[in-house]
């Protein structure tokens, strides 16, 4: 059967294709066409033979079916301990099966695999911590997503997201000048309050090159202003690149490895152009993982590192607080019950669990911080990671997944959840919208701006 016009094995490469796919509301026609999409079994097997290396092969074969991964998975727990939600089952029934059948699977199977890969796993990697062999189902799901994407069995929004990165080098349709323009607009809005506030663009040799999430540009530009204000108060020598400013990668969620590579290359290219001492990204988990951790491998960088040392925003905040570049006014510390979301991508997967707690110790009045249970690297996924937040057809499953985080928050008795990650922030926002438990949630930046001591010479003249 011929491939569909909207649902096919070809990636989105032009703005026109993007708009055409976007016009198909909720992907109605897209999913209809997917029902008739053929599986290119030869290509599938060929790809596996070329790209599935020893680690994944070992993992698939040494699974002892011990079931320890079961209780580790929040989706297993929230779905009434459905055996089909056991991580080992989820990967063996999909990737394991494809390998066993040497790629000879059909359309129905691929639909099931798509749902498993995008609605039954958020790639939070929690199971890896409990498996006696250290098997990481999340990593394998990522690989599976790549296979599915290649075959065209990918959720509508993910196809669009990957397309956005291919066409715009950003997760949203931000035109080239729009980023700098929006940043400068934000500076204009805030320079009354913070005289001398500027945003250096394309400055070479700065200490810091700052990268963001395209959503901040489109819908939450206040975040850009806050970032600028904090760098300004801290006296940092910073800059933004006019291109290569997007830290995120929906392409990673989509399994579009080529788009992943193209995306991170644009950021690395900015790093090479501007040669900052280091790159600092905005508050986003997967973005850090994509651009700093996995990215170098996508781009073929042998040392596995980006061109310049890169750290997560929370690392910069902790450093600034520690060294006194940013000082908190004790009167303005948070004096209500606060809890902290541990974003899997930089807490469990990048070891920054004490950094965020260090920050809490500065900004929360002693006695008011309550950790979730479990917490740190054992904390559960927000419910919306890995692209789960954005996929319409899997919204019911996602909403169910939010219950885990909802209950964790309720058990802390906290009024405010600090969530230094766009995905987690979204998930918590959605959980409040859905379950109305009466909480507030915030990134770090607005909190810091509200309580940081502004040096005298930076205050507006009265």
């Amino acid at each position: 059967m011929p491939e569909g016009t909207l649902c096919n094995k070809r990636p989105i490469e032009t703005d026109e294709q993007l708009k055409t796919l976007l016009a198909d509301k909720s992907g109605k026609i897209y999913y209809e066409e997917m029902k008739h999409l053929d599986v290119d079994t030869a290509k599938l097997w060929d790809t596996i033979r070329k790209t599935m290396k020893s680690r994944l092969k070992t993992w698939l074969s040494i699974c002892a079916h011990c079931g320890m991964c079961a209780d580790s998975c929040f989706l297993y727990l929230i779905n009434d301990r459905d055996p089909k939600q056991v991580p080992a089952y989820k990967i063996q029934s999909t990737l394991g099966e494809i390998v066993r059948k040497k790629g000879r699977v059909d359309n129905d199977f691929m639909h099931m695999a798509m749902e498993t890969a995008w609605a039954r796993c958020t790639c939070c990697n929690r199971c890896a911590m409990y498996c006696p062999h250290g098997i990481d189902v999340g990593v394998m799901m990522g690989y599976l997503r790549g296979l599915l994407y290649q075959q065209g069995f990918v959720p509508w929004e993910m196809k669009i997201g990957a397309g956005m990165h291919r066409v715009y080098r950003a997760q949203m349709d931000v035109l080239p000048e729009e980023f700098v323009d929006t940043f400068q607009w934000m500076i204009e809005e805030s320079e009354e309050e913070y005289p001398g506030l500027t945003v250096p663009v394309d400055k070479e040799g700065a200490d810091i090159m700052y990268t963001v999430n395209a959503r901040e540009v489109k819908h939450y530009p206040e975040d850009l202003a806050e970032a600028a204000i904090l760098f300004h108060i801290a006296g940092e020598d910073w800059t933004i690149p006019s291109s290569g400013w997007e830290l995120t990668s929906l392409a990673m969620f989509a399994g579009d490895w080529e788009a992943c590579r193209l995306q991170v290359e644009s950021v690395y290219s900015a790093m090479e152009r501007l040669k900052p001492k280091r790159m600092i990204g905005t508050e986003c988990g997967h973005a850090h993982r994509a651009t700093v951790i996995e990215g170098p491998y996508w781009a073929g960088r042998k040392d596995g590192k980006p061109p310049v040392p890169s750290i997560h925003y929370v690392e910069w905040v902790a450093e600034a607080l520690r060294t006194g570049k940013l000082k908190i006014d004790p009167e303005k510390r948070l004096k209500r019950k606060v809890t902290l979301q541990d974003s899997c991508n930089y807490i469990r997967n990048h070891g920054l669990r004490e950094i965020t707690r260090e920050i809490m110790s500065y900004i929360v009045e002693p006695g008011y911080f309550v950790d979730m249970a479990p917490n740190k690297e054992h904390n559960y996924c927000c419910g919306g990671g890995g692209g789960f937040n954005g996929i319409g057809i899997f919204r019911p499953q996602r909403n169910k997944a939010l219950i885990t985080k909802r209950d964790q928050i309720l058990n802390t008795g906290a009024e405010l959840v600090v969530a230094p990650c766009h995905n987690c922030w979204d998930a918590i926002r959605d959980l409040e919208e859905e379950y109305e438990i009466g909480i507030s949630w915030s990134f770090l930046k607005p909190l810091l701006v509200s309580m940081v001591v502004v040096p005298e010479h930076m205050k507006p003249e009265e």
Binding site: K25, E193, A214, K218, G390, G392
Partner: protein, 304 residues
């Protein structure tokens, strides 16, 4: 003076009083009226799924839907539109309400922004518990144009100004408010009522200001107004100076009521609050929710 007026509306009851004022002013000043409505915020990045702020339904935004919303706006303001003699435009947008309004102001600068009151009572608890409306607060703080807010019926408003009250706390912002009032007076010939309230509300329990003390303060304030502002008045003679004691927000409202003022002009003092909400001075907030006439907010960027 006002050739282009931007009326940012939720197209609900909360903006009905503001609508009457916006249309009346557009008529009186022969201004183009730009009607602007933000449909809602997309649930996800590039997603077109939006919760329509008015219908509370989950909808998908496309050209067709936008046209339908504009048609709804036309119907909602039918009677006002019929009587409008001049040009008007209608635009809808998607995003955070205050941000899209500010974006519109930046891309297509009006002479004046007209807004209504908080939509809190109309909508569910999705909106924060803010007295004056968080959208207005954020727009008033950042907009490089005067923002006129109407939260209660401005019954006698006929579109023009014959008497305006300018509240001053002797700040730099207040200086700008006076400057703007002078500009308005020169254009419309209205009377300016300069007003200052001596704040006696902050007295600690048990402390007591004698009436002599209070009247001393009144005298000092009056003198200060005369020396600080009157020299700028030039040939404008049509003004009064009054100073009352009391709770500033309430005194301004009472004063404007007694004077049957058409407008109160105040400077907006930006201050960031704990949760990131931009709280304006509480005096202004009090005035906005109690005044019987429109209130004009000016922040420091207006004169750039």
């Amino acid at each position: 003076m006002f050739k282009k007026i931007l009326f940012a509306t939720s197209a609900t009851g909360a903006c009905d009083h503001a609508a009457r004022v916006a249309f009346a002013m557009a008529g009186r000043f022969s201004a183009q009226l730009d009607i602007f409505h933000v449909i809602g915020l997309p649930t996800r990045a590039y997603s077109q799924v939006v919760i329509d702020a008015k219908t509370r339904e989950r909808v998908e935004i496309d050209e067709e839907y936008c046209d339908w919303v504009k048609e709804e706006l036309r119907v909602y303001y039918e009677q006002l539109l019929e009587k409008l003699a001049g040009n008007h435009t209608m635009e809808v947008a998607v995003g955070e309400t205050h941000r899209e309004i500010l974006r519109k102001v930046r891309n297509d600068p009006p002479d004046l922004i007209v807004m209504g009151g908080s939509t809190r009572h109309v909508e569910d608890s999705a909106f924060r518990n803010v007295v004056t409306g968080s959208t207005f607060q954020r727009v008033a703080k950042a907009a490089p144009r005067p923002v006129l807010v109407i939260t209660r019926p401005a019954a006698s408003f006929w579109g023009g100004f014959s008497r305006i009250v300018v509240g001053t706390d002797f700040s730099e912002g207040a200086d700008m408010a006076v400057e703007y009032a002078l500009h308005l007076a020169r254009t419309t010939g209205c009377e300016i009522c300069l007003f200052h309230a001596v704040d006696i509300s902050g007295l600690p329990l048990g402390q007591f200001l004698t009436q002599d003390d209070i009247e001393d303060r009144l005298r000092v304030a009056r003198k200060r107004i005369r020396s600080r502002y009157v020299p700028q008045f030039g040939d404008i003679r049509n003004y009064t100076v009054d100073v009352w004691e009391g709770i500033p927000g309430l005194e301004i409202v009472k004063y404007a009521r007694e004077k049957q003022a058409d407008l109160i002009i105040m400077a907006h003092h930006a201050r960031r609050a704990e949760s990131g909400e931009d709280r304006m001075g509480s005096v202004m907030e009090q005035v906005i929710v109690r005044a019987g006439c429109p209130v004009l907010s000016l922040n420091r960027t207006v004169f750039k």
